[in-house]
Amino acid sequence: MRKTCLNCVLELAKNHSEVLFLGSDLGAGTMKEFRKTFPERFFMEGVSEQHLIGMAAGLAMEGFIPYVNTIASFLTRRCLEQVTIDLCLPNLPVRLIGNGGGIVYAPLGATHFALDDLALMRLQPNMTVIAPSDAVQMRAFMEISLSHPGPIYIRLAKGGDPVTHPKGLPFVIGQAIELAQGTHIAFLCTGAMAHPALIAAQQLTNKGISCSVWHFPTVKPLDQAALAPIADRHTLLVSLEEHTIVGGFGSAIAEWLMDHHPHPPRLLRLGFPDRFPSHYGSQEQHLAAVGLEPEAIARTVIQSYQRQK
């Protein structure tokens, strides 16, 4: 997904002279081709995220469209005030590409986890928050990423994520995608949770509980037009995110239901609990530990569904 995303930046740069690439202190050789092709539009600014965002703002004020890439935790937390004041307040077209959204950097520990990035970015007025499911969806998004007038946060998953994005479907910012049709339970997922959601939904469907699966590649603005009929038609909604359940995608769904739906259905929010994960290991181990792998999701959901009945 990251490779696709960065390749797309190069492709965009070939046809649009206003496209720039900015990095902090990325791995050796990152964007080698971009640097070779457009040396004057390539910036590796060092370990200075606050400066990186301010500089991107200055460039965007002058008509450029900077694509800024570094590790998600540093891109969202370290320089949050710059993101808020320098990018969001003046509503500048800067693209923030965060590596390792969620628990991708499991072996590196808590300093590198990005389990709050969606919440932090969602809090900022004018910010658009994108969490694609896979490389195909990433490509579809990147193709339309240039023309959006304001700032965009783009969350990268681990890479090699199973493709769930429907073939040939164009990406529309703010539009959710129906991946499976059902009647009882609706799975609402974002980012790379699309695949586990589909497997869990299939397991439940096999047991006679019909499940819809909707993927929300745009966390903000939330697809309200899709949500209303989903909430009308199902008795249980399940939100799924590789993120703390505080303030992220599930919270956005909950807020919308409470504010806008006359008889909100029950919502089960699945994600990481509100505590620092104290382990290393692998992403899969972390997801299993918090019940975010397909079997555990199916178990939790079926329990909740039966309790409700």
Binding site: S48, Q50, L59
Partner: protein, 277 residues
């Protein structure tokens, strides 16, 4: 002592601009007075003699860019912009009002002539670096000025930006420090000393100069001299916080004041030779 920041006496235009500062202060019954008054001569010389800007066309592409990174000094910026006609003088009377364009910190998009929203300290130099690189990419000849406070440069992001400006050899970037020796809490030397300040900027790769920040001729000479060919410029302006209002000079209590009573406003105007001198 000859020609120190304290010894400079203010001419009629400097007093006039300070009266406009006072007008906004009175309009809002609040403001960062001390932080603005150390800046007046720096901004006056820039806008009167140095910057290529047009009040009637504040966003023309070839203009020089000025970012007041120490956004809390905005009363001085508002005074000169209003005086030059970027917006009506009457806006000063609505300073900090609910629906005003002039707030306690300047905002891009609201105020003609304001390039960036500042006030969260330590942001402006990075934005200026981005603008200076943009000018180079666009093969434009204009310059980018960023004015920082001395307290402001406690912020680490300023030094990140300084490293970058030097790395990119931004000879179209001029970093200005309003060195009035007082931050909000008290003397710089007591809070976080900056000395040797000029050496710091030199060590970060800037062609660095020091000047009496209230000396109009010295400021003009420095701002109009040819820029270094291959490096950014830093100009450290030695100034007096509260310059021109004796009760506010060197007085941290006047860094910011709110609910300023009429009697104090009269004292301010009286120090400036009256409301309509």
């Amino acid at each position: 002592m000859h020609n120190t920041p304290d010894s400079i006496s203010l001419d009629s235009r400097s007093l006039h601009l300070r009266r406009l500062v006072a007008r906004a202060l009175e309009g809002g019954t609040r403001g960062h007075l001390g932080s603005a008054l150390s800046l007046v001569e720096i901004l006056r010389v820039l806008y009167d003699h140095v910057l290529h800007v047009h009040p009637r066309d504040p966003a023309f592409p070839e203009r020089d860019r000025l970012i007041l990174s120490k956004g809390h000094g905005c009363l001085a910026l508002y005074a000169i912009l209003a005086d030059l006609g970027f917006f009506p003088l009457e806006e000063l009377d609505r300073f900090c009002h609910f629906d005003a364009i002039l707030g306690g910190h300047p905002e891009r998009g609201k105020i003609p002539g304001v390039e960036a929203s500042t006030g969260a300290l330590g942001h402006g130099l990075s934005i200026a670096v981005g603008m200076a690189i943009a000018a180079r990419l666009h093969q434009q000849k204009h310059r980018v000025f960023a004015i920082m406070g001395d307290g402001e440069i406690n912020e680490g992001a300023i030094w990140e930006a300084a490293l970058s400006a030097s790395q990119h050899r931004l000879n179209n970037l001029i970093a200005i420090v309003d060195y009035n020796k007082l931050q909000s809490y008290g003397p710089i030397a007591d809070v976080v000393t900056l000395e040797p300040l000029a050496d710091k900027w030199r060590a970060f790769g800037f062609a660095t100069f020091e000047v009496n920040g209230h000396d109009l001729d010295a400021l003009r000479d420095l701002f109009t001299q040819p820029l270094a060919a291959n490096q950014p410029t830093a100009i450290i302006c030695h100034t007096v916080k509260g310059k021109g209002i004796p009760m506010a000079e060197h007085n941290p209590d006047w860094h910011h004041k709110s609910r300023i009573p009429p009697a104090e406003m009269e004292a301010i105007y009286s120090a400036l030779g009256g409301r309509h001198a």
